[in-house]
């Protein structure tokens, strides 16, 4: 029988010089988050719109075989006006994807200025347009998941004094924030990029030639999802570092997301000026994505075309990043000073 020494023994191993010193934090926090039912619920919820799109795409492939008006028009080299006219058809008479694409395309021929041939236009809509159309409703899910995962990440460390422990380990404050940001980023990517890739996969399987033409949208999609993840992650961590309560951070977070949108909408109506729409936190992501995917704003239901400089949403979101970073820095300094 082995006899164990229950006293203290010196350890003879060697401590490694890690570059990614924050990596263990990420693993533990992701595991902790996955133990919560609400996180699984949000993850499942995030796939629902994607499954809807995937279903429509799958059905459209059946429709194509049966000669869907849209597919037939495309194959026969119809003019763009004909695509537009499809949107006026009632959805019950056409395949769901005809309805969605038709709606996106309705009277917006000018929005697809870049592609030249009819086929290019069609693919452009079913790649760039499709994913922008998918990502926009996902922004609600992003608000939910960022709140559920991120609101307590620093707040709970402050409340339970774990931050003090972290800051006395061989990691820098930047490592600490990076680790926490990585946790939020992973979950936001799971609720944005993963559903989008499901849709992409189903489209590639359903539509012939889709993969070879549409693959360039993947880096764009990843870039957009990563930007959304990082910016939302930093902002929610900034809010989380403001208080000891995750609820407090969550309330401010939802206020930022939804109240700012409502305020922007009201001011837009009252002032009759589109510029007020930049007051909305979420709208700035939309405007950024519209430029990333090179699609007109009018693809989004309820949004009208608007000329704006890309510098505006970048500056606004950059401001949020800066303020959040300053708040986190102040909190960490305060904990370090005791």
């Amino acid at each position: 029988m082995t006899i164990h020494n229950l006293g203290y023994e010196r350890w003879s191993g060697e401590l490694r010089q890690r570059r990614l010193r924050w990596l263990p934090m990420v693993r533990y926090h992701v595991n902790l988050a996955l133990k919560r039912k609400v996180i699984w619920l949000i993850l499942l919820l995030s796939i629902v719109p994607a499954l809807g799109f995937a279903g429509m795409i799958y059905m459209s492939s059946d429709s194509a075989r049966e000669g869907s008006p849209l597919e037939t028009a495309m194959v026969s080299g119809a003019q763009i006006e004909e695509f537009a006219s499809l949107s006026s058809a009632t959805p019950t008479k056409n395949s769901p994807v005809d309805f969605v694409i038709g709606r996106m395309f309705r009277n917006r021929q000018e929005s697809v200025n870049r592609p030249k041939t009819m086929e290019e236009k069609y693919w452009f809509i079913t790649t760039h347009g499709l994913f922008l159309f998918l990502l926009w409703p996902q922004s609600f899910i992003v608000m939910l998941v960022a709140s559920a995962v991120g609101a307590g990440l620093i707040a709970q460390d402050i409340r339970s004094n774990a931050l003090e422990i972290y800051l006395t380990k061989p990691i820098t404050p930047l490592d600490y924030v990076t680790g926490k940001l990585c946790v939020v980023t992973i979950f936001i990517l799971l609720t944005t990029f993963l559903p989008a890739m499901i849709v992409f996969g189903v489209a590639a399987a359903s539509w012939q030639g889709y993969l070879s033409v549409a693959w360039p949208v993947i880096p764009l999609l990843f870039g957009a999802c990563l930007i959304a993840s990082l910016v939302n992650g930093v902002v929610i961590l900034g809010l989380s570092s403001m208080a000891k309560s995750a609820r407090y951070a969550a309330v401010i977070w939802f206020s930022l997301g939804f109240v700012s949108s409502a305020t922007a909408k009201v001011l837009q109506e009252v002032g009759n000026d589109k510029i007020w729409s930049f007051l909305s936190y979420r709208n700035n992501f939309l405007y950024l994505f519209v430029r990333i995917f090179e699609i007109d704003l009018s693809f989004i239901p309820g949004e009208d075309p608007m000329e704006f400089s890309i510098a505006i949403p970048i500056s606004i979101l950059g401001g949020f990043l800066l303020i959040s970073a300053l708040i986190m820095r102040r909190t960490i300094r305060a904990v370090e000073a005791g």
Partner: protein, 313 residues
Amino acid sequence: MDTAIEISELSVRFGDVQALKDVSFRFQGKSLGLLGPNGAGKSTLIRTLLGMIDPSQGRAKVLGIDCRSQRIALRKRVGYVPEKDCHIPGMTAADYVTLGGELAGMRRRDAIERAHEMIRFCGVGEARYRPVDGFSAGMKQRIKLAQALVHDPDLIFLDEPTNGLDPEGRILLLNVLRELHQQMGIRIVISSHLLRDVEYVCESVVVVKLGEIVREGTIADLKEISDRRWEMRVRGDLQRFNLALENRGVEIIKSTGEEIEVQTPSPGSDCILRSAEESACQIRRLQRRELRLEDAFMNTMNHGPEEDLRDDS
């Protein structure tokens, strides 16, 4: 033994508040107690030594590593047990300590193995798969010690380690700390209000008052003063007697009626007896005053540094 802590002219300022002022000392022993009232600057000193606070002036080295420029290297060799409860909500004790090891640079497998050893060593082995949130104060204190020890540091800082512990838990923890520095050679720095705890574990003390070090030395040095501390009952002309004492360099600590407490300039009671003879007073009782660390501490707090023990050591 090499120098564990070396501080020279260290000052820390928070806005208008001078938290530490020109602090200089060198610690070469195995165990050091930081004593001082609330707000004296003990925790600030520890945080500065851990590299959490940038000093506004001066420099500090722990185990020969500069606290400001080599923080990461320093924290790999030290452990820290904070005063407050520290845990990550929802995390089990085993995961909590393992995470500490991994953050210190241990491989995952090593960290897991070592975490279990340390949890067992600190006496919470039975609860290692329970979330730390539900631990009692004593168990939380021990798990904090386990996370500080997991990467086998050469020095541990403990801030009020026995706060909130029951007597049994307190003795257990103090015995663990004694074992660590006496048998394992892990140096210990304890900041505490509980002077008995410091006396039980530490060999040396530093007394901090209003951000300054007012006394430092070994506990034996501090208590050595009791060879020169006397209390007596005297009859006769007390005024003449006191004058005679003062002429011989005897300091009168306390004088209430016939009861007098004094401190002689050198060990022994010769000067007291001569003063009594000179002033024709009767000494009815004369005995050495036994000093505890509390007395030495209170004496320092009330009177400031009466002598520089640094010169003695």
